[in-house]
């Protein structure tokens, strides 16, 4: 969550590139781990998490970075699904 909160702040300040780097470098693997754990408990929530993850990745990969406001919006959406996942797994889900 710390990583996601940092990325949200970076995108909110207009720096989509740094936000993207933060997510790709520090959150990518933990997100996959989270999805794996969640899939055993709640497939529908896992679907929402992965869909939000894909929405974000599609806006920050492929050489064409989306505008910072869109990246920010998708980061917020993904973070909410992360919190949903953590809650479903009975783990701490702090707000930013």
């Amino acid at each position: 969550m710390t990583t996601m909160c940092a990325a949200i702040d970076q995108a909110a300040s207009g720096d989509a590139e740094t936000a993207a780097d933060t997510v790709e470098v520090d959150a990518h693997t933990p997100l996959h781990d989270l999805a794996d754990d969640l899939a055993a408990e709640d497939r529908a929530a896992t679907a929402r998490l992965l869909e939000a993850k894909y929405d974000l990745e599609s806006s920050i990969r492929g050489g064409t970075m989306a505008p910072a406001p869109l990246v920010h919006q998708r980061l917020l959406a993904l973070t909410e699904h992360i919190r949903e996942a953590l809650t479903a797994l009975d783990r701490p889900a702090p707000s930013c």
Binding site: A20, D21, V25, T29, H32, D36, A47, L50, E51, S58
Partner: protein, 330 residues
Amino acid sequence: MSRHATPAKAPPRRLVAIAAVAAMTLSACGAGEPDDTTLPDPDPAAELVAQVASFDLAAGPGQRLLLGLFRSDRTVVGGGSVEVRVAWLGDDPGAGGEVPLSDPVTASFLPVPGNEPDVGDTATWIDGRGAGVYQARLDFDQPGFWGAHISAEIDGNPHVTTTRFQVLDTHRVPTVGEAAPRVNHPTADTHDGPLSELDSRAQGDDARLPAPHLHQVQVNDALDAGTPVVLVISTPVYCASQFCGPITERIADLALTYDDRAAFVHFEVWKDFSAEELNPHVTEWIFDPEVGGNEPWVFLIDADGTIAARWDNVLDADELESLLQALPAA
């Protein structure tokens, strides 16, 4: 029979994308000079960790061994090459002990297509975006449980680690030299249902296929017409592999260049991810009812319907492109 692998002369129902068929990750420390002719005991304090990323290793020549290398903090290693030695441990997953290692084989870095890290010709801890694996071709002359000893110079510093993996007696997924399964599957014209069943990216009220040209042709029709086929089986949205990348996009790009040499088809893995329902035409290819399956996969099918090449997990896009260039243009 010799229990060694030699360098190749040439080259639940739940679908899970696992980094190893059946692996237990071990690690060994580079402190001192270990006897590198036998598989060392694991060192839990070691910095380098290895994980087998191959999906379907079986006894036989030219097996594609993929290794993900990480630091203990999950930082990925990339670039250059590493040295791999393997040893047959036995038929029992708990087998171990001192076992002789094979001659060394070079495993070269293979970046995830579309997620290539900024690395050079030597192995380094990736500081930034991107991921990849180390790829080697090996002949396994014996099914069972094998150990791999990996030696790497990372940022100029020596590291060693070990890992274990299973080599099956026969492949679970259709492999090179076998006839491609003949399955019926929907195309964009024939599909009657949500577009997300054709491509998981096609979601929402405004759903449309991002790569419609991958959903125009029936594999069977192409083969009957004597046209080679590139088949990608993937789930762009629900990919669970640690090495996920835009593989479907890469195949879609190749299709635009080489559609005069082969037909290009995408099978979406999930009919309904939430309901854990696979598309039936996918189960024919990559799903074993007893042990499940993994994705993504890419297959190159010859004009005569024989599988000419296949890539599990991380596509070797250069290798595929070379093979496509060798096909006759229509």
